[in-house]
Amino acid sequence: MSKLVYLVPLFPLIGFLINGLGRKSLSKSLIGVIGSGVILASFAVSLGIFFEVKQDGFQPQIIHLFDFIKVENFTIPFSFQVDQLSSLFLLIITGVGFLIHLYSTSYMHNEETQHYGRYFAYLNLFVFSMLLLVLGANYLIMFIGWEGVGLCSYLLIGYWFKNNNYNYAARKAFVMNRIGDVGFLLAVFWILSKLGTLSYNEVFANASAFSAFDVTAITMLLFVGAMGKSAQIPLYTWLPDAMAGPTPVSALIHAATMVTAGIYMIVRSNVLYTMAPTTQAVVAVVGLATAFLAATIALKQNDIKKVLAYSTVSQLGYMFLGLGVGAYTGAVFHVMTHAFFKALLFLGAGSVIHAMGNEQDIRMMGGLKKYMPITHITFLLACLAISGIPPFSGFFSKDEILAAAYEHNKVLWLIGAITAGLTAFYMFRLYVMTFMGQFRGTHEQEHHLHESPSAMTIPLIILAILSVVGGFVGIPEAFAHNAHALEHFLSPVIVKSTETVHHLDTGTEYMLMAISVGLAIVAIIYAWTRFSKKPEIAEPEGAGKFLANKWYIDELYDRVIANPLVALGGFLKNVVEKSGIDGIVNGVGRGVNYAGRQIRLMQSGQVGNYILLMVLSMVLMIILVFYGNNLNPLLNYFSK
């Protein structure tokens, strides 16, 4: 089965081509079927691969397609690698991807046919790129996918291209991603210049050839790439803006898959990261800071999708915290569970938005429980999952990361636990404001409120089930010995992955779980009581305003980076280019003209003047020839 891995990205590519080229001629239903069907086909193949990989003694397979770049010093093949990590991600991508495609067929049904086709083409292209990213057997193929998902993200954020704010958000996303990409690219160059290869196998096998500085630099640069793609400080601001895209897109790209590419990449490079403790520390700190910062911002957001977006950033921060403390499996675990519940949250939000007639402000909602039961239930389950309430999936994965953090550094754990509490708080604020209490929207909206069609609710239900049970693939050591199926599964690709967790004794682990769960429950109760009766309608003041304005980070970036850069561009264009360089060039021309005008005056038309000048020249020439040797230094100027 793993020999057929090329089919996995091939199906979405075919779907992209069919939908892209036939977006005008195909009917909507056909587009939907093709768009979702190719992903389902990929999912089927991925499933087959997964089961093959799952067998014991499976060795990673490299499927070589053709030589992509082959020059004297190095060869970069276009090849795929099938191993535990990639097959797991294949499942997540195609599985969640399929559900979201299915959801989209209904959600996007109001679009014109050609835009509908365009939408699915983009979505398929995204899946294709994402699959390339995880399947690539070397860093360059990963980079191809890496940029490809950025491209699709750009296209999908700006899907409604008539709206310039959306376009702006799309561009911002792309540029921020590009900043990260440059870091990635530099790391690639670095590896290439040291080892002459980019294949994972060879790089990891020869990792000992790197000096400590090399490996730190490479991992830091890779992490820069991850910052961009996975929205970490300081490159996270694009993700909330990316909510401009259609909601399923947010679910797929900006929650479940693309943003986890950074985690995938670091896990993939875990050999290198393990060799670079400095980088790991940086990763952990940045991850945690991001988690905390985003969580605080999420506290005061009123746009349903913005809350979820900051929540995503926050959760990604968790994952990086996990990576930073060496809990690679934990990070992957959280990627997986997060994919389920965050996709579910977004799709649920999409369902709400759909019902509310594109209203996204939670202050205008409330009391939707009775109108949309399925959405309500699934959303609640997802909230519980993300808040880390056992036995929902979020509890297991988050707990694993926190436990690893505790082992590593207790301060990290403390902040992480507080953040978990904040997460529970803002999620339930969201939940309560949306589904509880009285409806606060217009009558017209109220009139139209309805449960979404089954094409939308079925994915919700499936994801809800996964969110509930997804955690059981990684039961912690404290509950049952060696029951961590995921860890077991991933162990071939990860070095020394869980060693830290094993040091914790069971009691401590229970205690940590109790604290974080307790914090979450307190936060949930507080949120529930606070917002169910008296929804937060008023504009926030003081610290709240600071949080509502996202710590003014966007403004800061504009002031410190964007505006100066644009001003510099203007300066270069208007001053340096025009007056400086071109000024010199034109100045030479003007100088020639001026000299011409002045020298012309010598031609006075007077014979007397002419002869006088001639006589003077004669005198000078005779002096030059006969007394010239005394003037040599000056006159030898022309004799090279």
């Binding site: 005056l601 006075s604 038309g605 007077q606 014979v607 007397g608 002869i611």
Partner: protein, 111 residues
């Protein structure tokens, strides 16, 4: 006579001619100054001719040594005569048209 005397004399005459060209406005006077320059050259040539003749005394070609110089002077006079002929006719033509021989008025062509 030491040849340097003649050289200096011719140079001085030549330069007086040059100064004449520079300081006068009358085209005819300028032309005369130029003739003065030519004569300075002539004088110099004759003097050199005699100098070379002097230094050739006692050698085989003493009879003709330096004769080139004097013949050159002859040709210069020939040419000068032709030149004067043309020059004066040009000046006359100019005078016919403008009723002036003042070179300062020759300024239609400039810059």
């Amino acid at each position: 006579m030491p040849i340097t005397y003649y050289i200096v004399l011719s140079i001085v005459l030549f330069c007086i001619g040059v100064v004449g060209v520079l300081t006068r406005r009358n085209a005819i006077i300028i032309f005369m100054s130029i003739e003065l320059m030519l004569n300075a050259a002539n004088l110099l040539l004759v003097a050199f001719s005699k100098m070379h003749n002097n230094s050739a005394i006692g050698t085989a070609n003493a009879a003709t040594a330096g004769i080139d110089g004097q013949l050159f002077v002859f040709f210069i006079m020939v040419v000068a005569a032709a030149e004067v002929c043309v020059g004066l006719s040009i000046i006359v033509m100019m005078y016919r048209n403008t009723h002036s021989v003042d070179v300062n008025f020759l300024n239609r062509l400039k810059n």
